[in-house]
């Protein structure tokens, strides 16, 4: 029987209870054409080192849990096939621009705060009043935001964004795209509340339109486009408030 082909994975390791600095550890994994990087990592965890820590869930590009740096590129590891790297080794690291909790697991605390700040849900003044029936929406109204609703919060866009890595005030691509998604929803009435947040400091203006967030997005959300459109809305609101400040004349 011929020997099974193998590949090498160089994996970022960091265990905070024992390591002061991260290190890379090499693992030989069986090479299977239909394996993705996530399969190889799960094989390592099951057969070689059970302490390897990484997030994953659906294995089909829906949950957004398994985002990592694969040879320096932000990727969903469930969609990064070994055959695209074979026979060379693959370097797997946690997403950049995030603090590392353990091995390939990053802290999402900052992102969760930013996401909550943009109110990523429909805001209505009459939320408890259902007497008028459902909120109707035409296909044309749906088209205005549908693309931006495909975000799975995988964080690849934050890893690709140089501003997210250098400017804490910046809300970042996914949070801003989701804020824009609800601002464009004809059923929503929360744009003013979201713009309160977006207009603060570098929250939205930090974006310099590098555009790499859109390049790496596995769901073709185009966060860069969403942010530029949101900036136009924010600029209009800024001048509106400049001319007629909130509460003036009340």
């Amino acid at each position: 029987m011929p020997a099974q082909d193998t590949m090498t994975l160089e994996i970022f390791r960091y265990h905070p209870e024992t390591d002061s600095e991260p290190r890379f550890q090499s693992f030989e994994v069986p090479y299977n054409e239909d394996w993705v990087v996530l399969d190889a990592m799960n094989w390592i965890k099951d057969h070689v080192d059970g302490s390897l820590t990484h997030r994953w869930s659906c294995r089909m590009g829906v949950c957004g849990s398994c985002g990592m740096m694969v040879n320096g590129e932000p990727k969903l590891t469930c969609a990064a096939f070994l055959k695209d790297y074979y026979p060379f080794s693959i370097k797997v690291e946690p997403l950049v621009n995030f603090a590392v909790e353990r091995d390939l697991v990053v802290s999402l605390d900052g992102f969760m705060e930013k996401l909550q700040a943009v109110k990523p849900y429909i805001v209505r003044d009459d939320v408890n009043d259902t007497s008028g029936g459902e909120y109707m929406q035409t296909p044309a109204q749906l088209a205005q935001y549908k693309q931006y609703s495909m975000c799975i919060n995988c964080m690849l866009c934050y890893a690709a964004c140089p501003v997210a890595g250098h400017e804490d005030e910046f809300l970042g691509p996914a949070a801003l795209a989701l804020g824009h998604r609800y601002n464009k929803d004809s059923r929503d009435q929360g744009q003013s509340e979201r713009l309160d947040v977006m207009l603060m400091g570098e929250a939205i203006w930090g974006c310099t339109f590098v555009g790499e967030c859109t390049e790496v997005c596995p769901k073709h959300v185009d966060p860069a486009g969403a942010i530029q459109q949101a900036k136009a809305g924010a600029a209009q609101e800024y001048f509106k408030r400049f001319v007629a400040p909130k509460g003036a004349g009340a």
Partner: protein
């Protein structure tokens, strides 16, 4: 030891991805666009200074050094315009009902079309 690991600040971040380098080139071309605006303002000032001053300035602009600068500025300005025209459909999508106008067509409608029209009008006005 315990706690999170924070990666060190990456000062050379713009070398890490080709997209970052393209971004930096796009941004740097704005210096050439701005610089050429200064040349244009000086030209207007010389025009206000009389025919002799203007002719002297125009002759200076035709020197080999200035010709090289014109070519570099032209390339930079064209690159600046092309990259921004490519970005316009992202920032200003046009919807026809449920359909979004494809990016190449939107770039022509909002970028190249007006650009070529204005250029043609200026050329006509100068050569008429």
């Amino acid at each position: 030891m315990s706690g999170q690991y924070h990666r060190p600040h990456r000062w050379a971040w713009f070398l890490e991805r080709p997209g970052y380098m393209r971004f930096m080139v796009r941004e740097l071309t704005s210096f050439f666009v701005g610089g050429y605006l200064v040349v244009f303002l000086i030209t207007l000032a010389r025009l206000g200074g009389g025919e002799a001053a203007f002719a002297e300035w125009v002759a200076a602009l035709a020197s080999p050094g200035w010709m090289a600068a014109h070519i570099v500025a032209l390339v930079a300005a064209v690159w600046h315009a092309v990259t921004w025209f490519a970005a316009v459909p992202q920032a200003m999508p046009i919807y026809l009902g449920e359909e979004r106008l494809p990016a190449p067509i939107a770039a022509i409608v909002m970028g190249y079309g007006p650009w070529l029209t204005v250029t043609a009008v200026i050329v006509w006005w100068v050569l008429r």
